[in-house]
């Protein structure tokens, strides 16, 4: 399916139809068919060879009406509906009609001014339309010559407030009055002669008529300067301009050389058929109001819908293809990654099989570690009473009067230790924890010889205690039993009588805490 189609622009007047073929805005060829049966047949045959082309149709006729109407300023669907009703009301029997916005009134109501345009007699058009319909031509738009002229004025950027556009066409002279760039009225005047001298007179007469008509309709004031624009393609133009300037008209010539060149036209061809420039404007894709009923352009509309559908679907398909390819690429990446992982896993498995397990089936390594730790702890927890013996022995060196009767060494995890009738709480080291064991020694000793001198005995015991307390291996020393108990809360009995027996012993008992063993 070709997205870019050739364009056929039909220029229809009462005496003939001119069909021009355009491809990419460039003129290809043209045919002229007379408004008679042979013309229709020839046109049908020519059209049959260009079924794919998009057809634009320009009507150029004398029988046309420009009706000014005012409508309240509204927008949207209501505005469209109101314009349509007004158009139907004024031109009930006209098939080819349209309405376009002119300006907004400066009155209090600020109404919108519209021009209602219609072909009052379109009978000559019907034969050509029948041919188009029968050949299923893709008729895109039907427009009128003044509307194309207005677009050309806009393209040539002529900015005069009151402009009278004079165009010599194949069928006559078209005079279009534009107010602030908007088409107000237009008329086609058939020219009986194409002789230069006669043409000049015709121009002057028709321009004057037009000016008087505009004044009579109060479209413009009498003092208003009317700018006249001529499309000049022949020698007569210069003479016409000269004549007009003599009559105090502001006049300008537009030779449109650039347009002729870009359209691929020749000067001679444009001189013969000036409307080819208007047709080029249509072939270039400029948009115009269509004056034909929707039925006439339905096939083109369907074709447009089809084309848009195809384009839309193609875009969707391309996007889907991209998405699909992207997904497949992702899948490939994943497959590659999976394969790489598979190889790595295989290598892992192979290496794992080579791993040695010395005691495989006996016990786990954690169990092995646990057992070893327990055995080590047993070993670390062992202790000997040697330290206590060394400590006591060192303290006894300076106190020969002390005799040891009993010595008990306890190695325990508990702080509270009972010995005979005594209870002793060993002091654990500050940093110790529940696992720290304590070594406690209980020493039962006496002073020998003892002569009843308790004061000396107590002094000896105190020195002994002090010596023990200063030993680096000792944490705490407590005197559990003193040689004599002089405390107020205890009972103290005896006699100072000479007959009373002399005390023979001064026994005492100590508890010594040795420093903990760190496990």
């Amino acid at each position: 399916m070709r997205l870019r189609r050739p364009i056929i622009v039909l220029y229809v007047t009462r005496p003939f139809l001119m069909a021009s073929l355009w491809d990419r805005k460039i003129y290809q060829s043209h045919q002229v068919y007379q408004n008679e049966e042979t013309g229709y047949t020839s046109f049908r045959q020519w059209l049959a060879g260009h079924q794919k082309a998009i057809v634009y149709l320009v009507v150029d006729t004398v029988e046309e009406e420009f009706q000014l109407t005012l409508l309240p300023h509204i927008t949207g669907a209501a505005r469209r509906e109101m314009v349509l009703r007004k158009l139907t009301e004024f031109h009930r029997n006209c098939d080819y009609k349209t309405a376009y916005f002119l300006n907004r009134q400066t009155t209090l109501r600020q109404d919108d001014a519209y021009i209602l345009y219609a072909l009052s007699n379109s009978g000559f058009l019907q034969h050509w339309m029948d041919v188009l319909q029968s050949e299923n031509a893709l008729l895109a738009r039907v427009t009128s010559m003044p509307m194309v002229s207005r677009r050309m004025v806009k393209q040539s950027k002529q900015v005069a407030s009151h402009l009278l556009l004079c165009e010599r066409l194949s069928v006559g002279l078209r005079l279009s009055y534009l107010q602030h760039g908007r088409l107000r009225i237009s008329r086609l005047v058939p020219l009986p002669s194409k002789e230069s001298a006669l043409l000049t007179d015709d121009y002057l007469v028709e321009i004057e008529k037009m000016r008087l008509y505009l004044l009579s309709q109060k479209v413009m004031a009498s003092e208003t300067t009317l700018a006249i624009s001529l499309s000049a393609f022949d020698r007569a133009s210069d003479a016409i301009v000269k004549m007009l300037e003599q009559r105090a008209f502001q006049c300008s010539i537009h030779k449109r050389q650039d347009q002729i060149r870009s359209a691929g036209l020749s000067q001679s061809l444009v001189q013969k058929y000036p409307e080819l420039l208007h047709m080029h404007c249509l072939a270039s894709g400029c948009s115009f109001e269509s004056i034909a009923p929707a039925e006439k352009t339905r096939r083109f509309y369907i074709q447009q819908v089809t084309q848009r559908l195809v384009v839309g679907m193609l875009m969707l398909i391309v996007m889907s293809l991209f998405a699909g390819v992207y997904l497949l690429l992702q899948a490939k990446e994943m497959a590659d990654a999976r394969e790489a992982l598979q190889q790595q896993t295989a290598v892992l498995l192979q290496n794992q099989n080579l791993t040695l397990k010395p005691t495989d089936g006996v016990m786990t390594s954690s169990e092995l570690k646990n057992v070893v730790m327990m055995a080590e702890k047993i070993s670390q927890s062992s202790a000997m009473p040697a330290t206590l013996m060394q400590v006591v022995s060192a303290a006894l060196e300076d106190e020969p009067s002390i005799s040891i009767n009993r010595m008990r060494w306890v190695h325990s995890e508990y702080s509270l230790i009972k010995d005979e009738d005594d209870e002793y709480t060993a002091k654990k080291a500050a940093h110790s924890n529940m696992d720290n064991w304590v070594q406690v020694g209980f020493v039962n000793a006496e002073i020998k010889p003892f002569t009843g001198d308790y004061r000396t005995a107590v002094a000896i015991v105190n020195r002994f205690l002090e010596k023990l307390a200063h030993d680096v291996d000792v944490t705490d020393v407590v005197l559990l039993h003193k040689p004599v108990n002089g405390e107020s809360m205890q009972v103290l009995r005896g006699s100072t009588s000479e007959q009373a027996p002399i005390p023979t012993e001064a026994a005492f008992k100590l508890a010594i805490t040795l420093k903990s063993i760190e496990n």
Binding site: T306, S320, L321, L328, A331, K369, A383, M389, R406
Partner: protein, 201 residues
């Protein structure tokens, strides 16, 4: 905007059918591609989890091996030393006699109690192995305190590791020591824990 009529739809029918078929094909293609990607993603995830599992197992095996290499010699050492396994009471008795003879000690009375599971949790046991304990009492006469140290040190260096818990030394004679006859001056009573590690029965 023109209203579409039935005949317009008929004109569009062929195009719509062709485009619809193409869209359907593309839709199927997309679904296939999506499913394929999804399957690949699932397979990749599965492979990743397999790989991670294998890697974890490998790390565990390496750790296991490292532990074996580290602790097996110690384990064997403690088996030889007697801390792990059954008590070797006969060997201990032989060793006791040897120590006594070596240090010329007085007679030694021993009493080894029945072995039982240690409930005191002195040494934590987390695995399948447990700590078993036999309470041992030694009674002997001493010429001097050093005899006791000789005995305990001799036993500790040549038999299973034991924990000496309690030792009491008493002076036997209140009077002057009788040096003429070879008699003990002191009596000692010691309580020891014979601890062994073995698998829970």
């Amino acid at each position: 905007m023109m209203n579409m009529r039935r005949e317009d739809w008929r004109l569009l029918q062929k195009t719509l059918l062709k485009l619809g078929s193409l869209v359907l094909v593309m839709f199927v293609f997309l679904i296939f591609a999506y499913q394929y990607v999804r399957n690949q993603a699932i397979a990749l995830e599965q492979m990743k989890s397999n790989y991670n599992l294998e890697q974890t197992q490998r790390q565990l095996a390496q750790q296991e091996q490292a532990n074996y290499l580290r602790y097996l010699p110690q384990y064997q050492h403690w088996i030889t030393a007697g801390s792990i396994g059954e008590e070797r009471r006969q060997q201990w008795l032989v060793q006791l006699r040897k120590v006594r003879e070596q240090h010329h000690l007085f007679e030694i009375n021993y009493d080894i109690g029945q072995q039982h599971l240690d409930q005191s949790h002195l040494i934590a046991s987390n695995g399948l192995h447990r700590l078993y304990r036999s309470v041992m009492t030694l009674k002997l006469g001493l010429l001097h305190a050093g005899d006791l140290l000789n005995l305990l040190t001799g036993l500790a260096s040549n038999t299973s590791p034991m924990i000496v818990r309690d030792c009491e030394i008493l002076r036997l004679n209140e009077k002057e020591p009788r040096m003429k006859m070879l008699q003990p001056n002191l009596s000692a009573t010691c309580e020891l824990d014979w601890l062994t590690v073995k698998a829970a029965s």
